[in-house]
C-alpha cells in the first residue's frame, strides 16, 4: 500500500506541475463558459439603448402605421421606446435604388442600426432587414410580426371588412419552453439551463477523460522508452504500479473537477443561472467517477503495449470517437429523452456515464435505471481493471513492435 501511494503521489505531483495540465485546468472552463454562457447572454440580452430603424416605403402605405405600433409597443427598461422608426424614403416617386444606397451608407456611418424595404405588390415576399449584426433575431422577428399584421389588416380592409376583426382573430402568441419534472411539477428551468447542464457536464467529462487518459498513455510510453519501467517494476509489483497510477490520476481528475466546479458555481452566481440541482450534481458526480475509472482502465490497457507517441495518438483518437458519440446525440436526446434507442445506449458501459450525464438534467431516469447502470459500471470497471492489469503487466515490458490484438487477447486469457 505504501508503494501504491508513492506511485500515486509521484504521478499526481509530476502531472499537476505540467503545462498541459495547467492549460486544461484554466482554458477548459473558459471555453465552456464561452460556448455555454455567451450565446444565451447574447440571445436573451435586452437592449439598453433605443435602436434606430429606417424604413423605405415606396408606396407610402405602411410606414405611418408601422412606426406608431413599433415605437409604442416595445419599451426599454427605463420606459423609453426600444425602437425609433425613421422614414428614409417614404411615398410615391421614391427612387428605390438611390434610397437603398443612401440607407446602406447610413448604416456604415452608424447613423441607423438597420432598415428594411416595404415590399410592393400584393403577393407574399421576402423582407430583408439589413443591419450590421445579423444576429439580432429578436428585432427581425418583431418586424416580421408587425408587418404581417399591418399587411393583413390592409388586405382585410380592402375586402371591405373591419380591420379590428384581424386583431380579434389573431391572438398574440408567445411560445415559452417549460420543463415538467417527474412528479408532474412545472419547473422554471428554461432551455438554456437544460442545455447548459447537460452539455457542460458532457464536455467536462469528455475533456477530463481524454486529457488525463492521454497523460497516462504518454507517461507509460516515456517510462517504457527510457527503461524507467525496469527500475519501477523491480521496485514494486506491476499491480501496485498500475493501482498507483490510477489513484494518482483520479486525484488529478478530482482536482481538476473541483476547480471547475468552483468556477461553475462562481459563474452561475455571476450570471444568475442555476446550472444544476444538487441532487442532480451528486448523481452526476457518481457517474463522473465511474466513467473516469472505467476509461482509466481502458487507457491503461490500450496504452501499455504501445511504444511510440504516434501509436498512442491513434489509439486515443479511436477512444475519442467513442467518447464523443453522446455529445453528438445531445440534441436528439433533448428532443426525445424517452426514445428507446437512447435508453438502450445508456446500458453500453462505454457510453453509460456520458449518456446518463446527458439524460439526468433533461429528464431524471427511473430509480431502477440508475441503480442498474451503476451496477453495470461497477462490474465493467472490475472487469476492465483486471484485464488492464494483465495487459499492463506484460505490455509495459514489451518493446519493439507493438503486439497484435490476438496476442493481447492471449495475455488477458492467460494472466
Amino acid at each position: 500500500m505504501k508503494k501504491i501511494l508513492a506511485v500515486a503521489r509521484w504521478e499526481y505531483m509530476e502531472k499537476v506541475k505540467s503545462k498541459i495540465f495547467l492549460f486544461g485546468l484554466l482554458f477548459t472552463p473558459l471555453i465552456m463558459i464561452g460556448m455555454g454562457v455567451l450565446p444565451t447572454l447574447f440571445v436573451s440580452e435586452e437592449d439598453v439603448e433605443s435602436r434606430i430603424i429606417g424604413v423605405i416605403d415606396p408606396g407610402g402605405k405602411v410606414y405611418q402605421e408601422f412606426a406608431q405600433r413599433f415605437q409604442n409597443r416595445y419599451l426599454l427598461k427605463n420606459k423609453q421606446p426600444n425602437y425609433i422608426v425613421l422614414p428614409l424614403a417614404v411615398g410615391t416617386g421614391v427612387e428605390l435604388q438611390a434610397a437603398v444606397e443612401d440607407a446602406n451608407r447610413r448604416i456604415a456611418d452608424d447613423l441607423i442600426d438597420g432598415y428594411f424595404v416595404v415590399p410592393q405588390g400584393g403577393s407574399d415576399t421576402v423582407v430583408e432587414y439589413r443591419s450590421k449584426s445579423v444576429g439580432d433575431f429578436a428585432t427581425a422577428a418583431r418586424i416580421e410580426e408587425n408587418l404581417k399584421s399591418i399587411v393583413t389588416e390592409k388586405r382585410v380592409q380592402a375586402l371591405g371588412l373591419d380591420p379590428s376583426v384581424v386583431r380579434q382573430l389573431s391572438p398574440k402568441l408567445d411560445v415559452r419552453m417549460v420543463m415538467i419534472s417527474d412528479e408532474g411539477k412545472r419547473e422554471d428551468a428554461g432551455f438554456e439551463r437544460v442545455f447548459l447542464s447537460a452539455y457542460v457536464f458532457l464536455m467536462m467529462l469528455f475533456l477530463l477523460i481524454v486529457t488525463s487518459g492521454q497523460m497516462l498513455v504518454r507517461s507509460v510510453i516515456e517510462e517504457k522508452s527510457n527503461r524507467i519501467v525496469e527500475v519501477l517494476v523491480s521496485s514494486c509489483s506491476p499491480t501496485e504500479l498500475m493501482a498507483g497510477k490510477v489513484l494518482g490520476l483520479s486525484g488529478l481528475g478530482l482536482t481538476q473537477m473541483g476547480f471547475w466546479a468552483l468556477i461553475a458555481v462562481a459563474a452561475s452566481f455571476q450570471f444568475g443561472m442555476q446550472l444544476v440541482d444538487l441532487s442532480d450534481a451528486f448523481l452526476l458526480l457518481i457517474y463522473f467517477i465511474l466513467g473516469y475509472l472505467f476509461y482509466a482502465a481502458i487507457f491503461i490497457a490500450a496504452g501499455s503495449p504501445l511504444n511510440t507517441e504516434q501509436e498512442a495518438q491513434q489509439i486515443t483518437s479511436y477512444l475519442v470517437i467513442i467518447l464523443i458519440l453522446p455529445i453528438v446525440l445531445a440534441l436528439p436526446a433533448m428532443k426525445t429523452p424517452d426514445a428507446s434507442w437512447i435508453k438502450v445506449l445508456t446500458y453500453i458501459p462505454f457510453l453509460t456515464p456520458t449518456m446518463m450525464a446527458l439524460r439526468i438534467p433533461i429528464q431524471m431516469p427511473a430509480l431502477w435505471e440508475i441503480l442498474l447502470t451503476i451496477v453495470i459500471m461497477l462490474v465493467s470497471i472490475y472487469v476492465a481493471m483486471v484485464a488492464a492489469g494483465r495487459i499492463f503487466r506484460i505490455g509495459i515490458l514489451s518493446t519493439g513492435k507493438s503486439p497484435k490484438l490476438k496476442e493481447i487477447y492471449r495475455w488477458i486469457k492467460n494472466g
Partner: protein, 307 residues
C-alpha cells in the same frame, strides 16, 4: 548471497537464457560477460523479478522471492532509466520510496550520496540538464542509496570518464567490504578482470565459462606471450606457431601452439621489431572471451554497441 540455479527463459521460439547457474556470495563482485543478445540482460531481469523465469530458481540470502525481497535489491539499468523532465532530487526520492525508504530519511542519504559524487548543486535541476556521465551517477545513487544487500549493475562504466570510473570502482570495492553481493555486466574485459572476484561468460543463453577469475585463467595456463614493441607488427597476425593473435599499435598478445617455445617465437620476432617488453602470462580475459565466443561475433557486437 545470491544464488541462480538453472534459469531458463524462452520468448516465442527463441531461448534467451538456457540453464544459467551461478552463485554470488556476499562481499564479492561478480562479472557477467557476454556479447549483446547473449542473455545477460534477460538473466539480470529475472534476478530482479522484472521477468518471471520459465524454470529455475533464484534465491536471495537463501530465500525465495517475496515482495519484501524487492527492497534488498539495487539496480542500475543499462542506459537512461530516468525521467528527463523531472528534478533529480524528486526522482531519487520517488525511487527511494519505492524501495521502501522513509521519505525524510531518504532525503539525507540521497543528499550525502550526491555530495560524494559532486552533484549536490544539481539536486534541484532537471535530469535532462545533466551530462550523460552525471545521469549515470544519478542512476548509480538510485541503485545503492537504500543500502541493498544485492546490487545489480548493467554496464555501469559506460559513458564515464576515467576519473569517474575510478570513483565508481572505489564505491564498488567499499560495498564489497560491507558484504554486499554485487553483479555487474560489462563489455570491457579489463574492467571485469580488475574488479571481479568471479565471473561468468554467457553466449547464446548458456554459460560457456565460469568460476573465479584466477581459476578461469589457470585453465588456460601460462601460454600467452605479451609483447610491447616499436615498428610495424602487422606480420605477427599471420605468423606460424601462434594462434588467437591480438594485435594493437605497439603491443600484441598471442597464444603459443603446442610444441612452440617462447624462445622460438622471440627469435622469430626479434630481428624484425624493436622489442621493449616480453612477458609470458596467462591470457587476458579479453583473449579468453574472444577465444570462447568467437571473434566474428564480437566484431558484430561492437558495431551494434556503437549504433
Amino acid at each position: 548471497m545470491l544464488s541462480v540455479q538453472q534459469l531458463r527463459k524462452q520468448f516465442d521460439t527463441v531461448v534467451a537464457v538456457d540453464g544459467v547457474s551461478f552463485d554470488v556470495p556476499g562481499g564479492s563482485i561478480f562479472g557477467l560477460l557476454g556479447p549483446n543478445g547473449a542473455g545477460k540482460t534477460t538473466t539480470i531481469r529475472m534476478i530482479l523479478r522484472i521477468l518471471e523465469p520459465d524454470s529455475g530458481t533464484v534465491t536471495y540470502n537463501g530465500e525465495g522471492f517475496t515482495e519484501a525481497t524487492r527492497d534488498m535489491l539495487g539496480y542500475l539499468p543499462e542506459e537512461r532509466g530516468l525521467y528527463k523532465k523531472s528534478r533529480l532530487i524528486d526522482t531519487l526520492l520517488y525511487f527511494a520510496e519505492l524501495r521502501g525508504m522513509q521519505r525524510s530519511k531518504a532525503r539525507t542519504i540521497v543528499m550525502s550520496w550526491l555530495e560524494r559524487l559532486g552533484l549536490e548543486q544539481a539536486a534541484q535541476r532537471k535530469v535532462e540538464e545533466l551530462s550523460k556521465g552525471n545521469q549515470q551517477k544519478v542512476q548509480f545513487v538510485g541503485a545503492v542509496m537504500h543500502d541493498p544487500a544485492i546490487v545489480v549493475l548493467d554496464e555501469p562504466f559506460s559513458g564515464l570518464d576515467p576519473v569517474n570510473q575510478n570513483i565508481f570502482k572505489d564505491i564498488l570495492l567499499e560495498l564489497k567490504q560491507k558484504g554486499k553481493a554485487i553483479i555487474f555486466s560489462t563489455h570491457q574485459m579489463d574492467q571485469a578482470e580488475r574488479l571481479s572476484d568471479a565471473l561468468c561468460l554467457i553466449n547464446k543463453g548458456r554459460v560457456v565459462l565460469g568460476g573465479s577469475v584466477r581459476e578461469v585463467k589457470k585453465r588456460y595456463g601460462r601460454n600467452s606471450l605479451h609483447v610491447d614493441f616499436d615498428g610495424d607488427g602487422a606480420f605477427l597476425a599471420t605468423m606460424t606457431g601462434v594462434q588467437n593473435v591480438m594485435l594493437y599499435e605497439h603491443s600484441a598478445e598471442m597464444e603459443l601452439l603446442p610444441g612452440v617455445t617462447p624462445r622460438d617465437l622471440i627469435a622469430a620476432i626479434n630481428p624484425r621489431l624493436e622489442l621493449r617488453k616480453v612477458e609470458l602470462l596467462e591470457p587476458s580475459l579479453h583473449a579468453i572471451f574472444l577465444n570462447t565466443v568467437g571473434a566474428t561475433q564480437l566484431v558484430e557486437t561492437g558495431k551494434e554497441g556503437a549504433a
